[in-house]
Amino acid sequence: MNALAAWAGRHSVLCFFVVFAVFPWVVPYKALATQVLIYGLFALGFNLLYGYTGLLSFGSAAYWGLGAYGTGIALAKLKVTSLWLALGIGLGAALLGGAVVGFFCLRRRGIYFAMLTLAFAQLLYFSGFHLADWTGGDDGLRGITVPPAGLFGLHLSLDRSVAFYYFTLAVVGLAVAVLKRILDSPFGAVLQAIRENTDRAIACGYDIARIKHLSFVFYALFCGLAGALDALRLTVVPIESLHWSTSGQVVIMTLLGGAGTFFGPFVGAGAFLVLEDLISARTESWPLAIGLIFMAFVLFLPKGIWGTLIGGFHGR
């Protein structure tokens, strides 16, 4: 198991592609597979900030929502015809939001940070609610048509769910490769140094404020990309995208899978979505079930499913 984990650690991007290339053919329905990819990417972004940098954000919905609304508004309101441009606008919105909110929230360390991120996400939620001309307000943003993905002169239609799945896989896989590159870089090492011992990292002469801010911006970008993909998947952006419960969801997913592990977020997103599917079919009280499961994980299995399996991530 450990040897396998070590090999997977070296070739994580390859592993990712292999697993997810066959994934839709082993789960009961393909819609679930696409969701696992998108929410996995969302959790991946959260994990960069929480699992690797040690900053707990309770406001991830803000960047997920900015990505979703950015791309959605580009397609539905601005009538952008290029898929890549629309995704870029969503990413730009998330980048801007992350840069501004990160500046404010990182003025305080520790537990303040969680509360501040939550507060700023609420600010965005209420703003989205009132800017109904742009966001559709309570009804959600409707009228999104997904243009074909133009690549090297080819136009790939994303209408079929299989095509959309592999398109998502390509985009998410690229993001996974970028994350791997970030974590393997000296910058990634400093992030983990901040998590382990902030004071020592400062003493080593690193510009902690700037590195944290950069980490926050990367987090916002990954979350925003996930949100943008979800807008394409649903062809509608519900106001719940910006709701605090979305922020809570990604926290739960990441901790179920294992914070600070590379594949934990995908394992967690998968476990969460499958459980939600199974439990919601039997009872309306899904939040009760996931709340209890989550509490049990925090108390007894803080390393999460994947973290416990590979036995890595030695304490925090």
């Binding site: 507060a119 809570g248 209890l292 803080p302 925090r316």
Partner: protein, 294 residues
Amino acid sequence: MADVSLAALAAQVFTGLVLGGIFVLLAIGLSLIFGLMTVVNFSHGALYMLGAYFGFVLLTRTGSFLAALVLAPLLVGVLGLAIERFLIRPLYGRSPDDPLLLTFGLSLVIVEVARLIWGKIGLTLDPPRALGGAVNLGFTYFPTYRLFVIGVTALVLVGLWLFLEKTNVGLVIRAGSRDPLMVRALGFDVGRIWFLVFGIGAGLAGLAGILAGPMRGAYAEMGVTIIIESFVVVVVGGMGSLVGAVVSGLLIGQVVSLTTFFAPKLAEIVVFITMAIVLLLRPSGLFGEAGLLE
């Protein structure tokens, strides 16, 4: 015309005082628990909601609002003691994020259980007949019950202040928030103080809930928005500072109430804008000491 709007404005200031009082009760509980244990209690809003529901049950069973007003916070306080003993205590020594995560899960559970027991539709709580109607304040009529809420809040704050400043237990609590290690070295059982303080904080949330009940009704999600606003109150006041919690609670109460009057659309947002401004000008909050408890 000018007279009318001035009276309405004054009434709005009183409404802000009521809202501020609720904020203060919630923020003081949060701040006490945080100052002493560096634990952010995410389930504080759920406990506030339970205060309102417990009040409803007690009111229908006993018929006495006074009994509900006293017993509901006590029950929520006891629940708080149980939460500290069985859920928070195992997490001491771990990352300060862990109690926050755990109480987040707990709040999901409590809200859903409330939904199962009392249904999805909100309940209304009637204020006692003696507190119905309105009082003539000279410039405007103001609901008697709201004046009562202001009075109770002020009384509880004075009581809490006397408890913290004048009793031996209060002294140990204040010492514990300054330097828990030293307090332990002097032979005090810090664990028992934490236990007690968590109970008090939960009880204050329950009190805020039952007080708010007759104004806002009781519904399962009632704690969600207000807990986030209370976080803001604590951040603006300065984390762990009780004076800060009081001043900032009253300030934000006024800001919200007056914005509702002048620009209702901005009412939900203005809390967060206030927070952003304070963070820019004074990152440690109005009464916070820089670097404390981070």
